[in-house]
Symmetry: C2
Subunit: 194 residues, 2 copies
Amino acid sequence: MARTTGSHSDITGPRVRAAALRLFARGGYAAVSMRAIAAEVGVQAGALYNYTPDKQSLLFDLMQAHMTDLLAETPHDPSRPAMQQLQDFVAFHIRFHADRPDEVFIAYMELRNLTEENFAVIERLRRDYEDRLESILRAGVASGDFAVADTKIVTLAIIAMLTGVNTWYRAGGRLSLDEVVAQYWDMVRKAVTA
Amino acid sequence: MARTTGSHSDITGPRVRAAALRLFARGGYAAVSMRAIAAEVGVQAGALYNYTPDKQSLLFDLMQAHMTDLLAETPHDPSRPAMQQLQDFVAFHIRFHADRPDEVFIAYMELRNLTEENFAVIERLRRDYEDRLESILRAGVASGDFAVADTKIVTLAIIAMLTGVNTWYRAGGRLSLDEVVAQYWDMVRKAVTA
DNA sequence: TAATTTAATGAACAAGCGTTCAAAAGCAAA
DNA sequence: TTTGCTTTTGAACGCTTGTTCATTAAATTA
């Protein structure tokens, strides 16, 4: 009994999500039709509704999965010095985001296409992630390692700067990811120290 | 003869652009219908076509006007020390963008909804703006004022960081724009010096 | 092989899309 | 008041949208 009552195909389901991810990232949620997603999967539009209740859930599930992964993988070790925690965070953020350009693009561009309830959920996860960084900054200020006047502003500035990497970085380009991480860490380190 | 043959209303035209700007910024280009824009202006959809050949031109004209304004107002005085040119640039960028949240939002979010030709035009203007900053960084490196390994990366990092202000800054909030400018200048200055 | 469950089809739905255009309305000059 | 031009209307066009559902096909279990 490999197939349980009520279960759906374990092949088509992931392909639907993958197609939605690709197409949403390239064309934008509003501009991508269910028929276009179905065509990418090689199926008729009606079949998609075996795997998602509606188009909105398709978007929301992608964004929620991305944010949940992000939070689950974020390094977190308060026992380490703040400076090293910050370095770990910078390296992690750049690498994690470089690995998932489509997810990142959607997470930043399609917020306004979420329903009010769904938006609140994603926004909360985003804030949780920001809080991880701000905690590090506050620890560094407390220990005297960082010279930061307003940890909230610096948090947002660092995240904006790091996420900006995704607008230009391409694997196999002029710079390796190691070099990118090193350069950004150099800027961040200098910006938060006296 | 206040009205010249072939001219269009000088009242409705600007209102159409203003409505398109507002609605595109709030809902996204693809999700905003011509009928919605018309309703915002208080007119029927057909009337819009007295002021724009099509929806695409409405978007393109808004973005082009924004980028042209940006470039026209960017401070540029190579005779000043690089450090002061950079400070001027940072202050200008933050203030200019804070004044035009809708235009900025559209300019960053709706690039993919431009036709290929229109995209090339906007992309070129964006690159021109980046080059302004990179010129300042190169001058500072040449004069020994800046310690920057890769001016291209630092250019993109600074612009991403500064533009990020628009995601959270609201007039009348916790911080004045002067304070925001001061904090960001502090970070940028430290990041580009040894 | 027969019975049962799951997955996909393909047509249909009401609604909305960008755009066009003949007709009507509004206004300035003569 | 009449003439001529500008602007708006309102209907219509062909097409696409998200979603539903009875039917068919396929695969699994018995």
